[in-house]
């Protein structure tokens, strides 16, 4: 063995040494640290140290005990849960129709769903104000029809307006994995179930739905995460009294210049998201995540 380096040297064709694994591993870690963990570290440090230090959890105590935070937390979870449920219901029904009810243009509808995924969320909020706002198209027509000066539709500038906008925007996030799951479903299952005497609702409940659970989990969890952190829709709708955690962060850090309080709210929001994400991974692992379709 000792002669090998000499032989290689004499031949002048030494093979290149393989790059150690840890070198390959550190590169993505460095990139992540630079663009994600480093800013995150500063947020956490600011929330604990404040502007001048020393380290203290006083800012956390103040935030957690404030009525504003309580209201924002409850409202955030409320909107996220309602929106997610709405997305799951609407997404499931629409995906069923697109997948199993033959109609001309199904492919176009499927393509349109993909397009919505590419839109920024605030566009939906903007279109809602144009359509359903107090000076929106629907109210304009209804006021004319009903001969009244008061806009009959008055839900946009409240929590339900936000929920409806989020359902509209995030439903495709549920539909996409569902459509992928349904495309994998053997239609013979449905046909055999039907021949055995099962009516359409039973087939949906007992044959299709169990097969869709992983996709529903994937899509629903993603929806919950995204709606929990949704900022654009809430801001653009400008709903009165609808304060969510992202709005608290924005208000404290940008409007009140209270960076420490903003960072505290941000850290709590991140913890909530990461906790939910962990639950989502756990649920996928326990509930047949192997069949889940990633978005």
């Amino acid at each position: 063995m000792a002669t090998l380096p000499i032989a290689l040297e004499s031949s002048g064709r030494a093979s290149p040494r393989p790059v150690p694994g840890w070198v390959l591993g550190i590169v993505p870690l460095l990139v992540l640290a630079t663009i994600f963990y480093y800013p995150l570290f500063f947020i956490v440090r600011q929330s604990i140290m404040g502007d001048a230090g020393p380290a203290s959890l006083a800012a956390y105590k103040a935030m957690v005990s404030s009525a504003l935070f309580h209201a924002a937390l409850v409202r955030t979870i409320e909107i996220a849960v309602l929106s997610t449920l709405g997305c799951l219901l609407l997404g499931f029904v629409l995906a069923l129709i697109v997948s199993f009810v033959p109609f001309p243009g199904a492919r176009i509808v499927s393509g349109f769903i993909d397009t919505i995924l590419a839109f920024p969320s605030f566009l939906i909020a903007l279109s809602f104000t144009f359509l359903y706002g107090s000076a929106g198209a629907f109210n304009f027509v209804l006021m004319d029809l009903m001969s009244t000066n008061e806009p009959p539709i008055d839900f946009v500038y409240g929590m339900w307006g936000v929920v409806l906008a989020e359902v509209t925007f995030y439903t495709p996030f549920v539909m996409r994995p569902l459509l992928a799951a349904f495309s994998q479903l053997d239609t013979a299952l449905i046909e055999v179930a039907s021949s055995l005497g099962a009516r359409p609702m039973r087939i949906v409940r007992e044959v299709i739905l169990p097969e869709a659970v992983p996709a529903l989990l994937a899509g629903g969890s993603l929806c919950l995460l995204l709606t929990l952190n949704e900022f654009g829709i809430v801001l653009f709708i400008g709903a009165k009294g609808v304060i969510t955690l992202p709005m608290v962060i924005y208000g404290k850090a940008i409007q009140e210049f209270d960076y420490t309080a903003g960072c505290v709210a941000a850290v709590i929001n991140i913890a909530l998201s990461v906790g939910l994400y962990s639950l989502y991974r756990f649920a996928l692992a326990r509930g047949g995540g192997g069949r889940a379709v990633a978005v």
Binding site: D186, L189, E191, V192, S194, S195, G197, A198, R199, R202
Partner: protein, 391 residues
């Protein structure tokens, strides 16, 4: 498999318990401009096993799906017994169905799969468990009730699928290429099991779709041969095999040698015709409506040709051996007879002829059939990989 037979007492609220045949009345199914089934008329008697046999795209699966209710005929009617079910939704037809890929519900245990139809038809809960057990015993799967489908082999899954279809005591059982996904050994075993099941459940009318002639010949009381969306011939398996009415049936139900001949004489009293093949005159028992002077195709099965003269084999044709294949249970010879290739399946030979040898092939008049001649129809038709001596 166990041989226990389910009792005939009605247990479900779903399917009617009377014997019921199937009637297709000029059924046409078209998708846009494409006709999948054209003017299809067929009667399947109650308790009969009818095989729909044909190549891919012949319309046989479309016919089955029309009975199940998954395709709606563009025109014509489908009757189950006396009931017109043409526009009846599938869940109201009381039909059991078994498909090629089993279609067991993957999230349900075997017992839940078998109980599905009973629950769907709202059978009393107390009757479901005994019926499930009974059906699983019938197909020899009683010990697998708690398993999930993915824990079973292909053959076991197909047995469960059959038990599930039988659990609702269907008027009609539709089998859509049920053995195609199984390997050859399993297929042979399942074929015997299905035959046994039908013996034990003689009231169930079975429509069996297959492209496999062996399955059709083994199971079916009658075979409906289909091609290009149409019914070509229908008859008992033996009749279609021994005296095929058409060239397509001759070549699809078993293997066939088809040789162009000219009819010389027809003796109605003796049920025999004389035909000329080259310089030889041959006797044929089944000649249909042929008349002297007509051009016809002479159909002889490969196994009906023998190298030795045996009793009754009054016909002989001569030719040159072009190929000899040993297939274990038989020797297959390819012989050039006046420019047409003839295939003969013989019992294993101690000293088989070699290529270039002249041989005489003997056959009996009752083993030959005259078919309508088709332009350019000289030659023989048989799948190269077919099993000699079987079909």
């Amino acid at each position: 498999m166990a041989s226990e037979q389910p009792s005939g007492e009605p247990r479900t609220g779903g399917a009617a318990q009377r014997r019921s045949g199937i009637r297709f009345e000029s059924v046409t199914v078209a998708y846009g401009g494409t006709v999948a089934l054209a003017e299809f008329s067929l009667d399947v008697e109650p308790g009969e096993v009818m095989a729909l046999l044909g190549p891919s795209g012949s319309g046989k699966t479309t016919a089955l799906r029309a009975v199940a209710g998954f395709v709606t005929p563009t025109s014509g009617r489908i009757l189950l017994g006396d009931t017109d079910v043409t526009h009846t939704p599938p869940y109201k037809r009381g039909i059991g169905m078994v498909v090629q890929q089993y279609a067991l519900f993957p999230h349900m245990r075997v017992e839940q799969n078998v109980a599905f139809g009973l629950r769907a038809s709202k059978a009393p809960a107390a009757q479901i468990a005994p019926r499930v057990e009974e059906c699983l015993k019938l197909v020899g799967m009683a010990g697998y009730a708690r398993r999930y489908p993915q824990e079973l082999s292909g053959g076991q899954q197909q047995r469960v699928a059959i038990a599930r279809a039988l659990a609702i005591q269907p008027r009609v059982l539709l089998l859509d290429e049920p053995l195609s996904a199984l390997d050859a050994q399993l297929r042979s075993g399942m074929l015997n099991e299905i035959a046994r099941l039908h013996r034990e459940l003689p009231d169930v009318t079975i429509l069996y779709v297959t492209h496999d002639q062996i399955e059709a010949l083994t199971l079916a009381d009658r075979i409906a041969v289909m091609n290009e969306s149409r019914l070509v011939d229908v008859g008992s398996a033996q009749a279609l095999y021994r005296q095929p009415p058409s060239r397509f049936t001759a070549s699809f139900v078993g293997n066939a040698n088809l040789l162009p001949v000219v009819v010389e004489r027809c003796d109605e009293d003796r049920h025999e015709a004389r035909v000329r093949l080259g310089d030889r005159v041959l006797a044929v028992a089944a000649f249909g409506a042929a008349r002297p002077g007509d051009s016809r195709m002479l159909c002889i099965r490969p196994h009906a040709l023998a190298l030795d003269r045996v009793n009754g084999s009054e016909n002989v044709i001569e030719g040159t051996v072009t190929e000899v294949q040993w297939r274990g249970s038989a020797h297959r010879l390819y012989v050039d007879v006046g420019g047409a290739e003839v295939c003969a399946d013989s019992r294993p030979l101690r000293e088989p002829p070699t290529r270039g040898h002249r041989v005489a092939l003997h056959f009996a008049a009752h083993d030959a059939t005259l078919l309508a001649a088709t332009p350019g129809a000289a030659g023989s038709t048989w799948p190269a990989d077919s099993d000699p001596g079987v079909a």
